[in-house]
Symmetry: C2
Subunit: 191 residues, 2 copies
DNA sequence: GTCTATAAATGGATAGAC
DNA sequence: GTCTATCCATTTATAGAC
């Protein structure tokens, strides 16, 4: 693996674990196993390296979410697949985590990948729900965009509740509650 | 206002804005307008002061949430009052924010107020929903505990989505979607 | 109780040898 | 390209004067 690649991956891990403020260039270098000079040769500095790492993480998350949402089954089943997919809940969301970092949200460049990723996610879930309505699987009264935001929020908020409790149970409960509510919108004919 | 009080309030503000890692004793002192010695006279150090600040913030949040949830109206109306209450959405939740801070969740003492606060919140919402069921306002099939976790998660996740977008719209959409789903559980007789 | 002075460690980055 | 050495500010805390 190239030095650049090792630096990016170390940064991805550290940003996830400690956030932007909590991640020092020194820690990145140590984890990557490279010297100080290498980092400043390949990247302009901490924020430049963070940008590369955040973009990479956002892209990966997008792909893994899309695998659930574009899979087979009804709209309800695809949303359920997304909500129930395996997660290391107590680690939290690597992208959602960045929204709590002042330096990240205040930098248009660093915030952009977060905005893009969550915007895409809400849009994709809304598409799945709208498709379910067209197929007659879901109640026509459902607002696809609002419901999509709710689904995305349940996941992000579930992480918060789980980390506060140091227990995955609140995450699972939040997902279960959301799915039960959504199930009540599934039309009898399609159920 | 006493020196102690000024220190606690400055810490509350800074923890909200910058998180635990991002908050230095120096910044606290400057905002409080006191010297270095005062802080170490009244508090053992940064974490001790943070503990006082987090406890205070959690207590305040509990009171303000309870004001909505214990108000007048049907169960749906009380949950709606909580979800729709005025918030400075882009600032995020001062308690939820702490769950993204490694040093906080790894310290049993610092995490305890978060756990207590969110545990209480989920329990209180569940009580309101269960009461609604007993009164015949809400469908009996609803799982109060799971739905309560969903409601709490929607708020916390809504903050995340809003901060990523630098726009309150995703928060409002998530709340609207959750309320629409919950409204479908309101029994016709009580609607 | 409150202040300033000081200290040891870390943060983020630059210089320059190889 | 990669490394070590160096730099200055900040972090967290202690010491001790007032």
């Amino acid at each position: 693996m190239s030095t650049q690649e090792r630096l990016v991956r170390s940064t991805q891990e550290l940003l996830w674990e400690r956030g932007y403020v909590g991640t020092s260039p020194k820690a990145i270098l140590e984890r990557a196993g490279v010297g100080q000079g290498s980092m400043y040769h390949h990247f302009a500095g901490k924020s430049d390296l963070a940008l590369a790492a955040i973009r990479r993480t956002a892209e990966t998350m997008k792909e893994s979410a899309d695998a659930c949402l574009s899979g087979p089954g009804t709209a309800y089943e695809r949303v359920a697949a997304y909500l129930l997919r395996e997660r290391r809940v107590l680690r939290g969301c690597p992208i959602g985590r960045m929204t709590q970092d002042r330096d990240v949200v205040q930098s248009p460049e660093l915030r952009q990948p977060l905005d893009e990723m969550f915007g895409w996610l809400r849009g994709r879930i809304a598409e799945v729900l709208a498709e379910g309505q067209r197929r007659g699987e879901l109640a026509a009264a459902l607002d696809p965009a609002a419901t999509a935001a709710t689904v995305a929020a349940v996941v992000q908020g579930g992480y918060v509740l789980a980390r506060a409790a140091d227990d995955t149970a609140p995450f699972d409960a939040a997902v279960r509650g959301a799915l039960a509510l959504l199930a009540s919108q599934v039309t009898p004919a399609a159920g």
